[in-house]
Symmetry: C2
Subunit: 250 residues, 2 copies
DNA sequence: CGCTGTCTTGAGCTTGTTCAACTCCTGTGG
DNA sequence: CCACAGGAGTTGAACAAGCTCAAGACAGCG
């Protein structure tokens, strides 16, 4: 049996009482898990189609860029970043993934992962072995329907993120970034106003298309304006409306 | 029967001999059309599931933002832009769609279109009435598999576009934009080095997150450097490698 | 206790925006 | 058919945002 990873925040780095696990019913993989009746004893689904709560050490990768696609992962606890390694100089950060969110979806069509997924902290994931789905003996139709829903959400999400980021300045991007993380956490039933930005400032900057110095300066500015409280990687959103007004100056 | 729209470029605006139609086998909707055997007489697929080659006048919309999702469209000829109307001041351009490309995919999950799709020139589309797909009498499994493939490609595509645009400066964005259009055209069997940018400079700028003046200046610069030849909306890519080296300065 | 990598802060410089003038199409109506 | 009005595109100059380079601060870890 997989023991849930204990709190590994031994240092002052992380002040919250980790690990926070997402509930199954708030997880992006849940629609498919439901179909598989995985929780039921005697579901008849063979081992290996859905692997639950696999521990992943900090810095470990779920898959490497260009690797053959086999599975979609859902973050159970912890967090991940996905990135395309060293295009010229430095990686290109694609996204960050919190509990309940999916990783590897963008590989479904091409059959290979376009990016590497790395754990930002001690984490755990559930793994849905897509290529073995037919073995599950469930009506393909139902599983596929769930997959369609899941992919559709991903399309919509990445459209919103892309247009939001591209057409705004640095201050707006960072405010949107913080609010986006907060919103995603609330959707998964996690604390939405206080959380750990486990990734480095450089990763955030890379993701937002800014310099890390700019991210640093903007975070300081937000703190001085009373919008957030910052202590290393720990963030407390004090004024959601204030952040929102940066993005949409109505 | 729908007559193929005649060339409507009566002015000097467009120098190419339009209309260029994409071949069915190079269209993003083709996997599904294949499944439906739509080309076969006596396929038994009822009218209304797949509507082919519908003419769309310049400026006409396929659907409005917040409209109820019913169909995915494929551009047969002409071109479209998708945008979110007036967030604050000015629209937010999401993307441009050329022959063979799909429109409306991002609405599959939520059930409503997040954006408006407008024809940039006299165009034609094929319409796949998703909600009526079950009436087609084809095995759901096969249709769904095609849909999964289609959604997966869309996810991968928007990830690439988003990260490409966000982390680059104006010059790189515009070069990437031109090469991206060229690449997409070659994938669909259309002329890849000479084409019409039917959208306004303002639309391009909006899409790339730049000011229209900047787009104008950059295009002029590219022309002075011998990378492209520009005549109003007509573009000739003269030096693909040169444009590429702007994006990836290896 | 000191080393190391990340983060912060400062100063000058580059890039892109804004505002404004002007040109060139394009469509319309006389 | 021509003249004119209006929008789109181009170009210039001043300004602002964000980057780069560099130095210093702070936590984490041996």
């Amino acid at each position: 049996m997989n023991s849930a990873s204990p709190c590994v925040c031994r240092t002052q780095r992380c002040l919250a009482e980790e690990p926070l696990e997402v509930e199954c019913d708030a997880c992006g993989l849940d629609p498919i898990c439901q179909v598989l009746d995985y929780a039921e004893a005697g579901s008849g689904v063979p081992e290996g189609v859905l692997l639950r709560r696999l521990p992943v050490a900090r810095g470990e990768t779920l898959f490497q860029a260009n690797g053959v696609f086999s599975s979609i992962f859902a973050v159970k606890s912890g967090s991940f970043k996905t990135y395309i390694p060293s295009t010229g100089k430095g990686d290109r950060v694609i996204g960050f993934h919190q509990p309940g969110e999916l990783i590897g979806v963008e590989a479904v069509a091409s059959g290979s992962y376009p990016c590497t997924a790395r754990a930002l902290e001690p984490s755990s994931v559930c793994e849905l072995w897509i290529s073995r789905l037919p073995e599950a003996g469930r009506p393909n139709e139902v599983v596929q329907q769930a997959l369609i829903q899941l992919l559709g959400s991903e399309v919509a999400f990445s459209h919103i993120v892309a247009t939001t980021l591209i057409q705004q300045n640095g201050e707006q991007r960072l405010a949107a970034f913080l609010l986006n993380i907060s919103h995603r956490r609330s959707e998964r039933g996690l604390p939405e106003s206080e959380f750990c930005l486990q990734m480095s400032r450089g990763d955030i900057a890379n993701y937002l298309g800014l310099a890390s110095e700019t991210v640093s300066r903007l975070l300081t500015r937000f703190q001085n304006q009373g919008l957030i409280t910052l202590r290393r990687k720990q963030v407390l959103l004090r004024d959601h409306a204030g952040l929102m007004s940066i993005i949409e100056p109505n």
